[in-house]
Symmetry: C2
Subunit: 203 residues, 2 copies
């Protein structure tokens, strides 16, 4: 397997952490967004909408979208289980993975895109929207801190793909000064320490 | 099963169309966003972040997030299959369902939230961002029109959850004047006619 990725982007990191948890070996090709390598005609043959990550199989088949890639890997490498062991756990993990993505990762990405110098001159920025998203994330962190007071991990009492998404979102948040605070988010802070100590977090 | 929904919102419709395809019977409770019924303390007990849809099971368990709900129903009612019959088809359908959600439904929802009178005075609107999203959707429709020239449905050669997401997104787009055009999007236009003729489209 060959993973096209950018070491600094959060969605490729979701896949790298997932593959590390699975203990799956793979090769990588760096496609640096900072150098517009994702927009070359060559890369657009892999992904016409120029997004990362992309997984290429040995037979040349190509798969886009981080969660499509992770689910595909889960099928061929079922252990350790990351998407749930029965119907209800799978539903819970999907729900929390989507909360982590839609309520944290996407809003944080919008703060980044619409305020950060990195994107100046590359895209049309709307800083007013970024402020709305920044407030949104602050509210969601308060809510999630309460949730993490009732269980050890995002999707239940064990580590799952929902933790990977939330960890990648919050680590990426630092680039726009969105940070967990030990005093105001004690449960999330403890959860973040717990997931960050796993060897996969370095992937 | 009891579905909390708003008849006019796109995410609850994804679940209703899915349940119609499955032929599953269920009860409904309307939670009208226009009347702020999603923000009452009573509804927040079902969903603390005040989003629709929510599914409540006979035993009182509650599930949020349209795709978590659909996946859960797929487990108990496997036919007709909507998420893929083997690992590669499941990966393809997940990829296209995510494209339909992330590249169409979410951007269209942002155009709606950030420009429509419905939200005036309810949320902080950022019309500048809506314009960026409107351009984004136009580009993605052009791309998807090419894709639908090569197959009959979003995720392959048969109807799947990816078609439900794309149909609900594009039907919702009309409220902000995002429309398919027979001349510029001939393949998407034909696909839309095909999926809209299914009885489930009325759900």
């Amino acid at each position: 397997m060959l993973l096209y990725h950018d070491p600094r982007a959060p969605n490729p990191r979701r896949v790298r952490v997932f593959l590390a948890e699975k203990g799956v070996a793979y090769d990588t090709i760096e496609v640096l967004i900072s150098e517009k390598a994702h927009q070359t005609p060559e890369f657009r043959k892999k992904n016409p909408i120029a997004l990362l990550p992309v997984l290429e199989l040995a037979d040349g088949r190509v798969l886009r979208e981080s969660m499509a890639i992770c689910r595909f890997v889960e099928e061929s490498h079922p252990e350790p289980n990351m998407f749930g062991a029965d119907a209800w756990e799978r539903a819970q993990i999907e729900m929390w993975n989507r909360h982590a993505e839609l309520e944290l990762l996407l809003p944080i990405a919008q703060v980044f895109r619409n305020t950060h110098k990195f994107w100046e001159g590359r895209i049309k920025q709307a800083p007013e929207f970024a402020e709305v998203m920044r407030e949104h994330v602050a509210e969601r962190l308060e809510w999630l801190d309460g949730e993490l007071g009732r269980r050890s991990f995002m999707g239940g009492d064990r580590f799952s793909v929902a933790d990977i998404t939330a960890m990648c979102a919050l680590d990426f948040g630092k680039v726009v000064d969105i940070r967990l605070n030990r005093e105001t988010h004690p449960n999330l802070h403890a959860w973040h320490k717990r997931v960050s100590e796993r060897p996969s977090a370095k992937a």
